[in-house]
């Protein structure tokens, strides 16, 4: 009796030790990987806030040395940078609004089972997920429509996303009980009224999620800006940043004139990177959970 008890006790501690070692390993590895995801940005941030001299002599790691905001002053002082920011904000807002409008217009009717031609229209939308004309036919269409070097070319082609439409449709089907709409219909409410007064209020969380999908997607994408836009003031911020990073001689127009400005391109580049990252990082903690939700709905369908 005594012996078995002892044995059990000792084996318990052994598994406990193994568990503890495993825990330490797992906590450490995950923590390390997570740190690897932020430390690069901390480094770039530190560089952007340091003096030229310290960066040039390679003394800046994770903490700014000779803290100053000169680099940011030259970024903000560059009119083309501000124009690109304004262009990006404008495009993102209009794009998101239009995208949401189109998504709702497509998703709601497709949840109505009585609607004739529902399947054909669904297929029409879904095909666009798997097949497209591609870069050149898209470009030639923009050319044909006279949209090259027009802000509209950054808004219209991508405004409707079949993927988001599917998420919206799935979400309406699961959150709005059919009985609710049926009774509203019997009360004489029209389809659009049901949509606006019953369906949309019930779908607020998913509407928020899709808004973020559209907004963050648009904010980050710049491929179309590279393809369609060749005139400076219309460049999206990411496109502008891309040109800046690709060229070794980073000359911000404003920084050339004044004597007391940043000359190390590394510092200016760092400031530009942080400048373009900041809006996302600010909203990120609040939007992350909505994104996770959206991915889940999208995945359930696929």
């Amino acid at each position: 009796m005594d012996r078995t008890n002892k044995k059990r006790y000792s084996s318990y501690t052994k598994t406990q030790i193994i568990d503890l070692v495993a825990d330490i390993f797992i906590y450490f590895t995950v923590g390390l990987l997570a740190l690897l995801c932020v430390l690069p940005f901390v480094h770039v941030l530190a560089k952007s806030l340091s003096s030229d001299a310290k960066v040039t002599s390679q003394l800046v790691y994770l903490i700014p040395k000779d803290f100053n905001l000169k680099a940011y002053r030259s970024v903000i002082g560059d009119p083309s940078m501000i124009l690109s920011l304004w262009q990006t904000v404008k495009v993102t807002v209009i794009f998101t609004a239009l995208g949401m409008f189109l998504t709702i217009c497509a998703a709601y009717p497709l949840t109505r089972k009585r609607l004739k031609g529902r399947n054909i229209i669904s297929v029409l939308f879904i095909i666009t997920l798997y097949f497209s004309g591609g870069i050149i036919p898209d470009y030639l269409l923009m050319h044909r429509l006279g949209l090259l070097n027009k802000t509209a070319s950054l808004i219209l082609p991508l405004a409707f996303s079949a993927y988001n439409m599917i998420i919206m449709r799935t979400s309406i089907q699961t959150t709005v009980p059919d009985s609710l709409e049926e009774s509203a219909l019997l009360d004489g409410a029209s389809d659009i009224r049901i949509l606006v007064q019953i369906v949309l209020p019930l779908c607020k969380p998913i509407l928020a999620t899709l808004c973020l999908f559209y907004a963050v997607g648009r904010w980050n994408a710049y491929q179309d800006s590279v393809f369609y836009i060749t005139r400076q003031p219309l460049y999206l911020l990411q496109h502008k940043l891309n040109l800046l990073i690709q060229t070794t001689n980073t000359t911000l127009t404003a920084s050339e004139a004044q004597p007391d400005t940043v000359t190390n391109p590394e510092v200016v580049k760092s400031a530009c990177i942080i400048f373009a990252t900041l809006p996302i990082v600010i909203v990120y903690p609040f939007v992350q959970k909505y994104f996770v939700k959206g991915v889940m709905i999208g995945a359930v369908k696929g």
Partner: protein
Amino acid sequence: MKTETIVHKTVKPKSSHSKRGFMYYVKRDWQLYLLLVFPVAMVIVFKYFPMAGLIIAFKDYKILKGFMGSEWVGFKNFAEVFSNKDFYRALRNTLTLNGLDLLLGFPMPIILAIMLNEIKSLWYKKVNQTLLYLPHFLSWVIIAGVAYQLFQPRTGLVNILLRNMGFNEVPFLTENTHWIFSYVFIGIWQSMGWGTIIYLAAITGINPELYDSATIDGAGRWGKIRYITIPSIRSTITIILIINLGRIMGSSFERAQSLGNPIVKEVSSVIATYVYSAGIQAQKYSLTTAVGLFQSVVGLILVLISDWISKKIGDEGLL
């Protein structure tokens, strides 16, 4: 299923007068059709018109002559594509980079998800998830910008550290082979956290009783992972793998373009960047449309095959 029967009941009385004309439905549901007009018009103009535009892959397209006026040349463009060295280079790079992405990048979110699941402390898990998801929300330009700040020769942080520790500099982004692996690892870094979501959801769906009975059977932590967690998420793993296989012909213009530089052009040119430089920049519209069509068709075939396989497996998984 349930909702369908309810709808049938309410609809039946209306449609019981045998067959109605199409106009009857338009009249009844005109508001729904009105809503649909907007997205349908957008899709037709901005998605289907370009598909029709693919016809110029079979023509010698001249901007002045237009889509209809340009001369029909059959498969001449394709012949030219397949004898073009730049095209083969782009194709080879696309397949190499995507293949390595899949080989090295695919297991990472699975391992990470299992590790995250083992973390009992909720706040620690949350904080780490938030940090791990972050790179997914940033554009490729920003990621490339940061990557160059870290891995550049001379001024990059990692190379500074290597030098300070007495090692030689590593040309992470300025030598072909190094660049390929940098490209792949930056991609893994960017997507590993976000990729865990789907696996974590699958793990959450596992019946906790399975773990309880495994504990009674004397299974340790590793035993539970090996005999319960992994088998339980195997169908998710398979489906994600198949979906990724279907995308092996795709190429991200933004990723390749922003991470690439002239020194590593030989390995960084993918189909999308090739189409951009030969098509939009050098204006060989028909040639590059043929390239795009080839990529789209092969991509579509791969997606259809993978969809078919995943449905097959999905059925088996349910049984």
